[in-house]
Amino acid sequence: MTSTAHDTPRKARRPRAPGRGVPLALLAPALLGLAFLLVPLLALVVRAPWSDLPEQLTSPAVWDALRLSLVCATTATALSLVVGVPLAWLLARTDFPGRSLVRALVTLPLVLPPVVGGVALLLALGRNGIVGQWLDEWFGITLPFTTAGVVLAETFVALPFLVISVEGTLRAADPRFEEAAATLGASRFTAFRRVTLPLIAPGVAAGAVLAWARALGEFGATITFAGNFPGRTQTMPLAVYLALQNDPAAAIALSLVLLAVSVAVLAGLRDRWTRAV
């Protein structure tokens, strides 16, 4: 990646002290770690069936999976924003009994294996789930094995990333701005909407990107809760996994597409990121 012209002067260049090299005990493992991260990506690029690639990528199956992935990840991110930002505010700005427990529960899906999340979603929102049976009975809504199910599975996994990120930004933001707004006659909601939200916008954007990336790559919860139906619930990661069984070349091609999307997102938001942190 080339660095853009305007961000170079911002970086303070510290002159290195003479004769103070990097100790080998740190350098060797550091380089090993770097290689470990880069070599697989390199392998993906080296072994890609470049000659077949145009043909592979123009197949409607690939486009279906990619479109479904983008639509579901974006919807899941939007859903996460709608419920996640208020949840983060509640955790950061109010004091209620059991707040630390709630906070721990919110972060649980971060460490929970996604497959377990998928099973849990089935038990909650499945046709016989504790909530799902009523949805089915009263509204005729069935969520498992539908595109909506994909969105829910991705939201379940992505939401904690957003909440944690936004809560951190809120805690760092000066709460006295909300007090100043209150002395000017703003209710707490008005203060949040007109003062706090604009102030934490960079943090919200960073959280949304994290959540979106997590949703885009979601596999375990999706395949468990929504299944693997091409065009309906088969997102890119699912398509990659399936293709690897019988058409490795297609799997590599699909992986390359996901890699390209990831790099594009990272490049597009790099400036925004660095400003947000």
Binding site: F177, A181, L184, G185, P198
Partner: protein, 352 residues
């Protein structure tokens, strides 16, 4: 207290208990009054201000403004405007929208709120900076935007928390004069919090000195400057202050020695004299007319404006202001023994 609460203006008894700290301050003011809460850091001034604004709950006492009980009213419903110490201008809004925020919250339409805000900013001499974001404003400009923002809600009580503390010395002089003018124009009650005696004396009609959460002295600035009643106030106004018992023209100090004064008093009394009234000698003066003469030792020297302040210990701990030349001629250094003299006409005694 037998005084009846004024129907107009501020009538407050602020009690806030937090851990081991207890604030217990009575505060009354008529419309048009500017009251300064003066006190050292940690005295509870800011706590009192937050209680008035509704940002910290009262644990006792009462709070009435123009006869209305506000003790349980949330901050957004109080007719109170606040200028915060570091202004807290909303960084994402222009000066105009910062000032329009209040009127808009109070129900004015967006364009009406902006029109009112523009009028306020023009009154503050900021007509050219309506579209500027706070970070593009100088300290003095930001202070005026903060004042305009607080006044734009048409408050019945204006609170200013260390309004000049964030400014450098030069800007401060200028802004202090402007602020004085705006406060004089303000027809409701203004309460300002400061630890700077000069700000307090220039801006306020009345000082309320708070120490350890309690009012220790209250009155007109000139009166407090002349008759300090605590060590803290004496230091603020630059006086040596002692407590003792007067008998005629002599006050026997609790610290030991006697001081001759021109006033004729009896009973508990304070004696005060400025550090500039102290004369120092290396040897016991013989021809001096000063009746007040004490044997002291130099504890420390520091520059104080164009003078040097000499801290003395010994028979009577005191501060003396000398010129640099005098310090050099006397060869003063920490530990040097000196005689300190003060003329009776330079001292001031008043009942404690």
């Amino acid at each position: 207290m037998t005084a009846h609460p004024a129907p107009q203006g501020l009538d407050a008894h602020l009690v806030v208990e937090r851990g081991s700290f207890r604030l217990d301050v009575e505060l009354t003011a008529a419309p048009g009054d500017v009251v300064a809460l003066l006190g050292p850091n940690g005295a509870g001034k800011t706590t009192a201000l937050r209680a008035l604004a509704g940002l910290s709950p009262l644990t006792g006492g009462h709070l009435r403004l123009d006869g209305t009980d506000l003790a349980r009213t949330p901050p957004e419903s109080r007719p109170v405007g606040v200028v915060f110490q570091d202004y807290l201008l909303f960084p994402h809004l222009t000066a105009l929208d910062n000032v329009a925020f209040g009127p808009h919250c109070q129900g004015a339409g967006r364009s009406e709120a902006r029109r009112q805000a523009a009028v306020w900013l023009e009154r503050m001499g900021l007509a050219e900076h309506l579209g500027a974001k706070p970070k593009r404003l100088s300290g003095g400009q930001a202070q005026r935007v903060a004042l305009a923002r607080a006044l734009a809600t048409d408050p019945r009580l204006l609170l200013l928390d260390e309004p000049l503390a964030a400014l450098d010395a030069r800007t401060r002089l200028e802004v202090r004069a402007q602020l004085r003018r705006h406060l004089a124009d303000f027809e409701a009650v203004a309460v300002l919090v400061t630890h700077d005696p000069l700000d307090a004396m220039v801006l306020a009609d009345r000082l309320v000195v708070v120490e350890h959460g309690r009012v220790v002295q209250e009155g007109a600035p000139a009166d407090i400057a002349r008759h300090p009643r605590t060590e803290y106030i004496a230091q603020l106004v630059g006086l040596n202050l002692y407590r003792g018992r007067a008998d005629g023209h002599t006050v026997r100090l609790d610290a030991g020695p006697e001081v001759s004064t021109t006033e004729d008093l009896s009973g508990p009394a304070f004696v005060a004299f400025p550090p500039g009234a102290v004369t120092l000698y290396r040897d016991r003066p013989t021809g001096s007319s000063a009746r007040n003469l004490w044997r002291c030792e130099v504890a420390g020297l520091e520059s104080h404006g164009d003078q040097i302040r000499v801290e003395l210990t010994g028979e009577l701990p005191l501060a003396a202001d000398l010129t640099a030349v005098a310090v050099a001629e006397l060869g003063l250094h920490p530990g040097a023994p000196v005689w300190a003299a003060v003329k009776a006409t330079q001292t001031h005694a008043y009942p404690a």
